[in-house]
Point group: C2
Chain length 254, copies 2
């Protein structure tokens, strides 16, 4: 099962969700591959991989045809959680893919056959609806949409859903929304509560669990660790554990 | 003076800085134009402009040549603060500009001559180093870089500075970094303090004032207001007022 973790709004928790949901899916005995599809390479860093190790052996080299996808996959500190790393060179792929014509099906051709060896593959998307995200949507079976509990984050949801619908009609009939997940929820503020209510009303696919805003989730990446390693007793860890359980129940049938 | 407000990291406060710094620059008697260069059109919404009013009359129509830049400029609720709005169609411009060849100089040709009628023009960039941000950097005199006080936000700064340097050498010799501004600073957490210290050490151009994380700054956009209108007595308002003063002192000579 290949899931794109996507939302063009920036800073809503795509990377944090990809790596921490991934970690807790392994606790449920599933094998997981995280594919860093963002030139910022935040998932690569947050999983403790040194950028120097990745030079010349990232997603970019797969898209240019220099390397096969399985040649870039790395193990992480978590048993059962592997990573296909990114690097800043990936930004160049956007222009190259457009100039080469059939630019939306590259991931599906080059990545999907190998990625299906893991139970779950999570494609961490960049904050845009450009070529890299389009590729991820065409390659995926489902989309997980992190939604920050902020007003401006509501704005782009309709556009994102339209884009998913467009990809389903044009290139990937099997694509569906696996679910929306509320992130950085702060129960003390009206804003968070109003946004959460609005999202739950308009999008019935929203997961029950909301990820709270906690400083521990912000600290973990500075140690190159997921919340599972950094502070498994924290509220953030409990929330991602609950999200993993809810996802598996929803996608595999309770 | 045309300033790009840019950082490819998502959700760091580019839009919040563009509109609120813009508002407080008008308090200092400067005329200000905000150009929304992001298909998410968050600056357009946060300044209280109804999306329906913008259909067919946004930055996209200027880039395709259908409208002249001055035809899309709107007044906002703040005297002296005008807006050139965006719309989701702008996402299509990325692919079209690449296919058309000379894709980095469009803004400079179509926007810069008119934009110079205002004392300050702020180009609110999307969270990427793609075609729209490249255009903004080629059209601008300087770059304001909002830096969120989070670990992952540090990651991309070196890449951003390299990109600015590349644009300076290749297309815009006058481009310089006007300054970095720390955003969402939470004085209660070690993480914020560590990140702020790290940024100030590595980047001497960092403004003295740090923008605090305050709920009022997050609430204002839901009313289509800047912090100047929503809560001028708040800590967020005071910080953006101080930033406007510091910017003017730095750029115009104290
Ligand atoms: N629940 C949370 N509580 C506190 N901090 C969080 C939480 N989730 C994410 N963060 C922090 O907020 C910032 C944004 O999160 P993240 O980078 O995961 O978002 P993103 O959507 O992947 O961003 P981008 O759009 O740049 O790819 C990061 O610094 C991260 O550490
Ligand atoms: N100082 C602050 N305190 C609290 N909330 C803030 C602050 N600055 C911005 N925000 C909120 O954080 C979110 C991200 O800010 P904003 O949208 O301005 O960032 P951005 O860099 O423009 O995002 P994008 O990368 O999507 O364009 C918004 O919901 C905004 O209201
Ligand atoms: Mg990310
Ligand atoms: Mg923005």
């Amino acid at each position: 099962m290949i899931l794109a973790v996507a939302n063009q709004k920036g800073g809503v928790g795509k990377t944090t969700t990809s790596i921490n949901l991934g970690a807790y899916l392994t606790r449920l005995g599933r094998s997981v591959l995280v594919v860093d599809c963002d030139p910022q390479a935040n998932a690569t860093t947050a999983l403790g991989i040194d950028r120097r190790r990745v030079e010349g052996r990232s997603l970019y080299e797969v898209l240019t045809g220099e390397l096969a996808f399985e040649q870039i996959v790395l193990r992480t500190a978590i048993d059962g959680l592997d990573l296909a790393p990114s690097s800043p060179t990936l930004a160049g792929a956007e222009v190259e893919l457009v100039e080469a014509g059939a630019f939306e099906t590259r991931f599906r051709e080059l990545i999907r056959p190998t990625a299906l060896r893991w139970d779950y593959t999570l494609l961490d998307c960049p904050p845009s609806l450009g070529v890299l995200t389009a590729n991820a949507l065409v390659a995926a079976d489902g989309v997980i949409v992190p939604v920050q509990c902020e007003y401006l984050a509501l704005e782009g949801l309709a556009q994102l859903m339209r884009t998913i619908e467009l990809v389903r009609r044009r290139a990937n009939p099997g694509l569906r929304v696996a679910g929306l997940v509320l992130t950085m929820y702060d129960s003390r503020t009206n804003l968070s509560q109003q946004v959460a209510e609005e999202v739950r009303t308009h999008f019935p696919d929203t997961f029950q669990v909301a990820i709270p805003r906690t400083i521990r989730l912000g600290e973990a990446p500075s140690f190159g660790q997921t919340i599972l390693e950094y502070d498994p007793a924290s509220r953030g860890a409990a929330a991602y554990n609950a999200l993993a359980e809810e996802l598996v129940a929803r996608l595999e049938g309770a």
